[in-house]
């Protein structure tokens, strides 16, 4: 990490690395999302849920929606990537996942600077976010 006794107005190397990966992930995620959304709304790929039925689905509780639409929660959307609505989940997952990549990427730098406490914090955060992303944290209704 930067010299602890004389802080600098410049961002630390790990802060710059985090920012660069975050920025790249954000642009790529948004680009994919816009592209897949265009594919969806212009009907280039057939959607799993017909567009004219969505007004029913988005007005009911999510557990009823999953039951009526026969959609399994968690990462089962990967199995529906052949449909125009579910390919949008690629961009959404990337936007939601880029933070995990950022944290993982700064751990080596923190360890190199012998900043074990913050390396530990970063590792813990990776585990927490990965657990949230895993789908194991299910909620019953």
């Amino acid at each position: 990490m930067a010299d602890q006794t004389a802080p600098s107005t410049e961002a630390s190397p790990e802060q710059m690395l985090y920012a660069k990966i975050l920025e790249l992930g954000m642009f790529v995620g948004l680009a994919i999302l816009f592209l897949t959304f265009a594919i969806y709304v212009f009907g280039i790929m057939k959607p799993y849920l017909p567009l004219d039925q969505l007004s029913h689905y988005w007005s009911i509780p999510v557990h009823e929606y999953l039951e009526e639409a026969k959609i399994q929660p968690g990462w089962n959307w990967v199995g529906l990537l052949g449909y125009g609505d579910f390919i949008n989940f690629i961009g959404i997952a990337l936007l939601a996942g880029v933070t995990i990549i950022c944290y993982a990427s700064i751990i080596p730098l923190l360890l190199k600077n012998k900043d074990k406490i913050y390396a530990g914090f970063a590792l813990a955060e990776v585990i927490i976010l990965a657990l949230a992303a895993s789908g194991f944290l299910a909620v019953g209704h």
């Binding site: 107005t9 961002a11 004219d52 914090f121 970063a122 927490i128 909620v139």
Partner: protein, 314 residues
Amino acid sequence: MSRGKFGLTFFLSLALVFAAACPVWAQETASAGQDAAWWIWPLVLFIVTFIMGVLAVLGGVGGGVLFVPIISGFFPFHLDFVRGTGLLVALSGALAAGPGLLKMNLASLRLAIPVALIASTCAIAGAMIGLALPTNVVQIALGGTIIGICALMLTAKKSEVPDVPQADRLSSALKIYGVYTEGSTGQEVNWKIHRTPLGLGLFIIIGVMAGMFGLGAGWANVPVLNLVMGAPLKISVATSKFLLSITDTSAAWVYLNQGCVIPLMVVPSLVGIMLGSFVGVRVLRVAKPTFIRWMVIAILAFAGLKALHKGLFG
């Protein structure tokens, strides 16, 4: 007030009225023309979130805190999907702003990391609690929280550079301090924080609420960082914005994995808020932010009361 500012304020007031009328018009049109119905609500959502994005910048609030109460109050979407979308909207705003703020060293990674660990863990718990509770209970809690946020926005003071006589032991041990260049004066401002354990404890509550209601947490992050922990206002606002990218990520995954994401809601909202924020930053130079902030607080209060009503009476 100059003619330009008056005109702009008048226009924005009309935009607010239009934004409020949009859902009513959409409901009538959707009922009348079933064939064309599917695109109406996403279009209205885009227009309303665009206006929200403009007003959020002018009113000095986050887009996330506007999205859930307003969309759940005036649109036919179920609260489960509104919360999932709200988190993704707030997350996208934070992802857009975060890199720049980190590079400018206004957002402090050193300050954010321990705070984010607590807030993101609690946001997961909040999301799980929020999805497990009956909808009317969440509506009532949301309504009460929004009213509380309005009260906080009306009464909370801000401190440009709080007086922190001495850094506390925890922040010293974690080496949470820094220096930034104040743009308006060119002066270097050294900063340190205190009351770190208390601040971290408050982020437990903030995390749970952010996850439960799908709100961005900027309305709470900034007062805690600035007034409780003593970080300068600019550092607090920038770090708060960056923090949302971590806190909202954890909760967003819970909602995503539970199926609370419908792309036809997410993408128009996301694009609307981001474009609106882009325009809002440019309009900020000529608008009268104080009046806009009062209007935003009034709308939030109305949306909060509507959520309470919905939760109590269905």
